[in-house]
């Protein structure tokens, strides 16, 4: 197979933002997640927890709460605004000022008989505001009784007639029809961070004194107190079981269980404690089978409840999602440049050089160190959503939801010039891609269209817009392929799982698609059918260990020297698939590199199979093959991310 020279890069200081809020849509099995920088992410729990959509953040937008109404997603934040998102074009659709100061919480009834769905926000000034969700907007309806002190948390009673509000030192129940407060329970000097209202009028609150309290909502009396932590209980999520997140990073589960065998006398009992976070747990979701948690340590954790799922299956494995399911690194193959995308700037680096040769396992002396050529700050308040660098290293483009910029680079002199005249169709993009010869730029734009422009010195010229037929899904995540004809060539058969990476082979014109369920397809664009290899792979099935990996393949590329080689990577490995070798069978050892290394050369042939997987490099953000046949591997060790997090608010120490 051969040796590779690997540029092992660890200077991409990627830093994800803390998770602030989450909302789970049970019907569509989508999880909406808001980060501290205002970015929104949608995860498809039905499709291997794939991160389907990312709506970039915006300066000043602080999402405090999220709420699904049907397929529509709303957020509210401390800027006092309610925002609805356009999940097709991945941008805010509109924003409504609530005129009540910072909004702490937003809540919608799960269902409504009247057709118009009421939606509520709890505000700093002590008002609970009711909004009506109309087809294309939301409209202020009325205020409930104004209270002293801010409204921190809200929860509808399942009957949609009552609503419980957690406040400073107090829980208040409102009658939705009259707007009057019908009951209140008081505690001393606590912030009721989170509240749950059950159908039997039980109210469960989590507060800043570290207590989870169970109240009788009819009488306003305290039924039970669980002291969970010395610090704040920050998030609650309810069902017949309920989870509470704490500022120590633990998640505590409570279940409504009977202490006796006959099933009588049920009580809320503390059952399990999970410790999957190093920092505050700010957002929690309790799905049917799992506890989903996120917080200051930026990782999204899905922890299946083992009484709800089949044990020792893929379903029962805990998942930690630390990296985005798309690439933030762009590589100029010919020029040896790397472009790192941050929310508010771009960094352009030139790789180092070494001379001489070494044996496998050696580190070569670095003759020239890598060099940061350019740091480009974005303009405006919208965060960067995509960026690209042309293979020759001469063009750089990035886009936010509102603006698109293209720059001309002169590498030798390190100068950057903005291309001022851009076609008017090129206003924003979700994905950007340069052609192999750097003569074309493809930008996926609004309404699932792809804009093609020609790059000529010194300007760029609009060529074409590829529009999907009506009803087609928009290609939000897949990176656009390397060469696209200017008319619709063919349509690839639809597969049930979302593609996570696609690429077209430069010589054979085969399209390789990898999906969120880890399936790999190869489609011949010439014959307009799946290739023989793809059929063989499907017939035999992928190796179980391949299918059990829990991070998606985020990039596919090819080796020009060896046309039969496909190079792809996920977060924990990169893999060279040699299509000329036999596929691994179910009993074959998939990760066999160590064994092959130990075998003498003639024996290796017997044990070789197509999937050559390398796990030497971990926490991969990017693996690319340069034109000089060397590999670029961008690692971002999770420990480095951890070390840059602020100190935890509260950390449990031994014997304290």
């Amino acid at each position: 197979m051969g040796e590779f020279k690997v540029h092992r890069v660890r200077f991409f200081d990627y830093m994800p933002a803390a998770i602030r809020a989450m909302a789970f849509n049970r019907r569509t099995e989508r999880l909406a997640l808001a980060r501290a920088d205002g970015a929104l992410e949608i995860f498809n729990f039905a499709d291997n927890y794939f991160q389907e959509k990312v709506i970039p953040g915006q300066d000043g937008r602080a999402v405090e709460a999220l709420c699904w109404v049907g397929r529509r997603l709303f957020s509210a934040g401390l800027n006092g605004e309610i925002t609805e998102y356009d999940l097709e074009n991945l941008r805010p659709r509109y924003t409504v000022e609530a005129y009540g100061g910072p909004i702490w919480t937003i809540s919608a009834v799960a269902y409504s008989l009247s057709g118009c769905v009421p939606c509520q926000v709890g505000c700093e000034d002590g008002t609970v505001k009711m909004f009506e969700v109309l087809e294309d907007r939301i409209q202020f309806q009325r205020n409930l009784d104004r209270q002293k002190g801010r409204i921190i948390s809200l929860c509808w009673h399942p009957s949609a007639s009552l609503i419980a509000a957690g406040m400073m030192d107090m829980i208040r129940i409102f009658d939705v029809e009259t707007g009057k407060g019908v009951g209140a329970s008081k505690s001393k000097e606590v912030v009721v961070w989170s509240i749950a209202f059950l159908s039997d009028h039980t109210i469960i609150s989590g507060d800043s004194a570290g207590k989870v309290q169970i109240w009788d909502g009819l009488t306003g009396t305290l039924a039970r107190t669980h002291l969970v932590t010395k610090w704040d209980v920050l998030a609650l999520s309810d069902e017949s079981s309920l989870v509470a997140g704490t500022s120590e990073g633990t998640v505590v589960q409570f279940q409504f269980l009977s202490s006796t065998l006959d099933g009588q006398n049920k009580d809320w009992v503390r059952t399990r404690t999970f410790k999957n976070h190093s920092h505050d747990v700010r957002a929690l979701v309790h799905t049917e089978t799992a506890v989903v948690s996120g917080g200051m340590d930026t990782q999204l954790v899905v922890r299946p409840l083992l009484d709800k799922v089949e044990k020792n299956t893929q379903e029962s494995a805990m998942r930690k999602m630390a990296f985005p399911h798309r690439s933030l690194v762009c590589c100029a193959k010919k020029a040896g440049l790397l472009l790192f995308q941050f929310p508010d700037h771009l960094e352009l680096w030139r790789l180092g050089e070494s001379d001489g040769h070494g044996n496998p396992g050696d580190s070569l002396p670095v003759k020239r160190k890598p060099e940061k050529l350019i740091q480009l700050k974005r303009k405006g308040e919208d965060h960067i959503c995509c960026s690209a660098l042309s293979p020759c290293g001469g063009w750089l483009a990035y886009s936010t939801v509102t603006s698109f910029r293209l720059y001309r680079l002169q590498n030798n002199t390190i100068s950057i010039t903005k291309v001022s005249k851009l076609p008017k169709d090129l206003r924003s993009a979700h994905q950007l891609c340069f052609s192999t010869d750097s003569s074309r730029l493809f930008a996926s734009s609004i309404n699932s269209s792809v804009v093609v422009v020609a790059l000529n010195q010194p300007e760029c010229k609009y060529l074409h817009t590829l529009k999907p037929k009506s009803g087609e899904q928009q290609p939000t995540t897949a990176s656009v392929s390397l060469s696209v004809r200017l008319q619709l060539h063919c349509t690839v058969p639809v597969y049930g799982s979302c593609p996570t990476a696609i690429a077209i082979h430069p010589t054979s014109s085969n399209l390789v698609v990898v999906h969120a369920d880890q399936q790999i397809f190869e489609y011949s664009l010439v014959q307009k059918e799946y290739t023989e290899w793809s059929r063989r792979l499907q017939k035999q099935g992928l190796h179980s260990l391949w299918l059990e990996r829990d991070t998606p393949i985020t990039h596919v590329t090819f080796n020009p020297k060896h046309p039969a080689h496909i190079i792809l990577h996920d977060m924990f490995m990169f893999c060279v698939i040699d299509q000329s070798l036999p596929l691994p069978e179910a009993k074959t050892r998939l990760f066999n590199q160590m064994i092959l290394r130990s075998l003498p050369e003639p024996m290796r042939i017997l044990h070789r199979h197509a999937f050559k997987m390398c796990k030497t490099f971990q926490n991969l953000m990017c693996v690319r093959l340069l034109e000089d046949h060397s590999l670029v591997v961008v690692e971002r060790p999770l420990l480095d991310i951890m070390s840059q997090l602020p100190a935890p608010v509260r950390q449990k120490r031994f014997a304290t």
């Binding site: 051969g2 040796e3 020279k5 690997v6 540029h7 092992r8 660890r10 396992g361 890598p370 030497t616």
Partner: protein, 658 residues
């Protein structure tokens, strides 16, 4: 593994018309292992010489009379006893006679008489022991060291009882058997006597084989005739195939093996025409043989031969049940013996039984010269135990070199010949003891302790013993254990403070502190080292260690301290491939010895200095170890630092994919 050998026909049978009955009333032992008396159900009794398959003589009762129970041979009077037409003074169930006991008559209503007593007063009244509707199903007769027993089982309305009748003085105990599934009655019984207990083995039609154990001494008899419940344990649950067993019988062969006839072979379908030997300890099938023709559920076993009536023949099937070990039960031992080899082994065994020492030695040499010696492992064990048992019986007979050679094959272990180590101790064959300690993996703690005790109290002036020991150590294998021969002179002395040689040397150099002088002589040290290296478990060793006298303890502790000091002085004393205990073995022994004798040692004035020395030394060692711990901690940090390969922000590396 137990084995069933090729069987042969003893005689033909004339089964009853309906074939439900084999026509054999009973097979009884006669004068020796080669003679049996067979009583058929009509009128004749025949004496057979088994190995010749030939009748020697036969008797027949008069026309019109019938034999109602099997004829027995009384070795004391060399007479045969048979009952015709079931009558003496009441209906007779059976007459029993076994070697060492008097003939016993069991009447159908449960009364028991010695034959002599009955014949001297034929008209005596015979009492009724059994209740109405209670009848005898099976009976036997057992003679123990002190008592003779008539044992029989009865059935009354589906309940089964065991009667234990002691003779002289006469006492009777009655036990109620636990009920099996409703409607099931035991198919067969077999009784044996071992370790002061009578063991009753019985088989039910559902394949369950139970054992009940009754003490020879027995309970206080309850005159009220109350039946005690008889506790039982399930020995085996035999596969029964389709339906229940009908004509089947189980016989205990020894403590671990039973022979069962009339049951299916677990790997040969549901046909019930098999004879199988099962190991009850490991629940494993040891041997099986298909039996042609109808099986009547009758089975006798005398002298390693099974007698089975089947079809129209009475067959003799020789068997062998060697002492079972887990390895053989699990089939780990290869069974590659051919008939010829077996014959050789058997002939060797006979040689061992009778031949003089020289011939035994020759046989052993011959046997051990074979290349396939490992394959003969079970047989070697058998041979060794034959040799040991002969030596035990015959004080003039001892074959030290043969035994040593057998032990040296490493095919033996303690459980195969449990008397060997004690025999060697008794004969003061310390070389053999040493070999056993070295090669037997399974010496019980009690034996280890016995060795230890013997070794410690060895007289130091046993010069001749030492010479023989040395001669043997330099024997064919050049085995030399313990410390190196160069140091032999140095440690020649025994007892405290060193002997003559030592003193002479001491004149020239300054005397080392007493704890650095070996407190025992070289040979004693060699033997003690062997003890130190045996495997043991603290809790089993401790009670036996308590048997040591305080002087023995002090000496042993001195020796252990000496070893410990020696270890702490030179880092690696176990050089030159010699067998010496490891430091942790020494320390374990110190601990267990102190545990066992701490109070004694504290009270013993001679031990005080020793304990004080030991304490101060241990204290210094503890301090040393804590310092070492610190160093280790620091070095480990260093190690951690180097192990964590610092990749840095950027590197260019070469990897290779295969």
């Amino acid at each position: 593994m137990a084995a069933l050998y090729e069987g042969y026909t003893l005689c033909g049978l004339a089964p009853a018309q309906n074939q439900s009955n084999s026509g054999v009333l009973g097979v009884e032992a006669e004068r020796d292992s080669d003679h049996v008396v067979v009583t058929d159900s009509t009128r004749s009794v025949t004496l057979y010489k088994v190995s010749d398959q030939k009748p020697l003589s036969s008797w027949t009762v008069k026309q019109g009379q019938t034999l109602t129970c099997s004829a027995v041979y009384n070795p004391q009077t060399k007479e045969y006893v048979a009952v015709s037409d079931g009558k003496v003074s009441a209906d007779v169930w059976r007459v029993h006679c076994v070697a060492g006991g008097e003939p016993v008559v069991l009447f159908k209503r449960g009364a028991v008489r010695l034959l002599d007593a009955l014949l001297s007063a034929p008209q005596q009244p015979i009492e009724e022991v059994l209740a109405q509707e209670e009848s005898i199903r099976w009976s036997t007769n057992i003679v123990t060291e002190s008592q003779q027993f008539a044992i029989f089982t009865t059935e009354q309305k589906g309940d089964h009882f065991l009667y234990l009748q002691r003779l002289n003085p006469n006492t009777l105990q009655r036990y109620r058997l636990e009920r099996e599934e409703p409607g099931l009655s035991p198919l067969s019984f077999s009784a044996s006597y071992r370790d002061k207990h009578i063991r009753l083995l019985y088989l039910y039609p559902n394949g369950h084989v139970y054992q009940s154990v009754v003490s020879e001494r027995g309970l206080v008899t309850d005159e009220g005739g109350q039946a005690f419940p008889l506790p039982r344990s399930l020995l085996l649950s035999l596969p029964v195939g389709e339906g229940l067993l009908e004509a089947a019988s189980a016989q205990a062969l020894d403590e671990a093996h039973i022979a069962v006839v009339g049951v299916p072979h677990p790997s040969a379908g549901s046909g019930k025409d098999f004879l199988c030997i099962w190991n009850t300890n490991f629940q494993t099938l040891q041997a099986g043989k298909e039996i042609a023709g109808k099986i009547y559920g009758q089975l006798w076993s005398f002298w390693n031969k099974l007698f089975i009536p089947h079809g129209k023949t009475l067959s003799v099937i020789p068997y062998e049940c060697p002492k079972s070990s887990l390895a053989s039960a699990l089939g780990k031992m290869r069974q590659v013996k051919t008939e010829g080899e077996l014959e050789q082994i058997c002939s060797t065994a006979t040689t061992f039984d009778t031949a003089p020492v020289e011939e035994v030695q020759r046989e052993v040499d011959l046997l051990l010269s074979r290349t396939d010696i490992q394959d003969l492992q079970p047989s070697l064990g058998q041979l060794a135990s034959t040799l040991v048992s002969r030596t035990l019986q015959d004080p003039a007979f001892y074959t030290p070199s043969s035994l040593a050679q057998l032990v040296h094959t490493r095919c033996l272990c303690h459980s195969v010949c449990p008397d060997l180590v004690l025999l060697a101790l008794e004969r003061k064959d310390y070389f053999l003891c040493q070999l056993c300690l070295q090669f037997f993996p399974d010496i019980p703690e009690a034996i280890t302790c016995a060795c230890l005790k013997a070794f410690i109290s060895l007289e130091p002036d046993g010069v001749s013993f030492m010479e023989t020991l040395i001669a043997r150590e330099r024997g064919p294998d050049g085995l030399l254990n313990g410390f190196s021969p160069t140091s032999a002179a140095e440690y020649r002395s025994d007892g405290l403070g060193g002997g003559g040689t030592r003193a002479q040397q001491d004149e020239e150099m300054t005397s080392p502190p007493p704890e650095q002088i070996c407190p025992v002589g070289l040979h004693k040290a060699v033997l003690l080292n062997e003890v130190l290296q045996t495997a043991y478990s603290d809790s089993f060793l401790l009670p036996h260690l308590k048997d040591l006298s305080s002087q023995q303890v002090v000496l042993f502790l001195q020796y252990l301290q000496f070893l410990y000091l020696k270890y702490s002085q030179d880092a690696f004393p176990q050089t030159h491939g010699l067998r010496s205990p490891s430091l942790s073995q020494i320390l374990d022994w110190v601990c267990v010895l102190l545990d066992a004798h701490f109070t004694v040692l504290v009270m013993t004035p001679e031990a005080k200095g020793l304990l004080v020395n030991l304490h101060s030394f241990v204290k210094s060692q503890v301090r040393l170890v804590s310092e070492l711990g610190k160093i280790e901690g620091s070095l480990q940090e260093l190690n951690k630092m180097t192990a964590k390969k610092d990749v840095g922000q950027y590197s260019i590396e070469i990897i290779e994919l295969f």
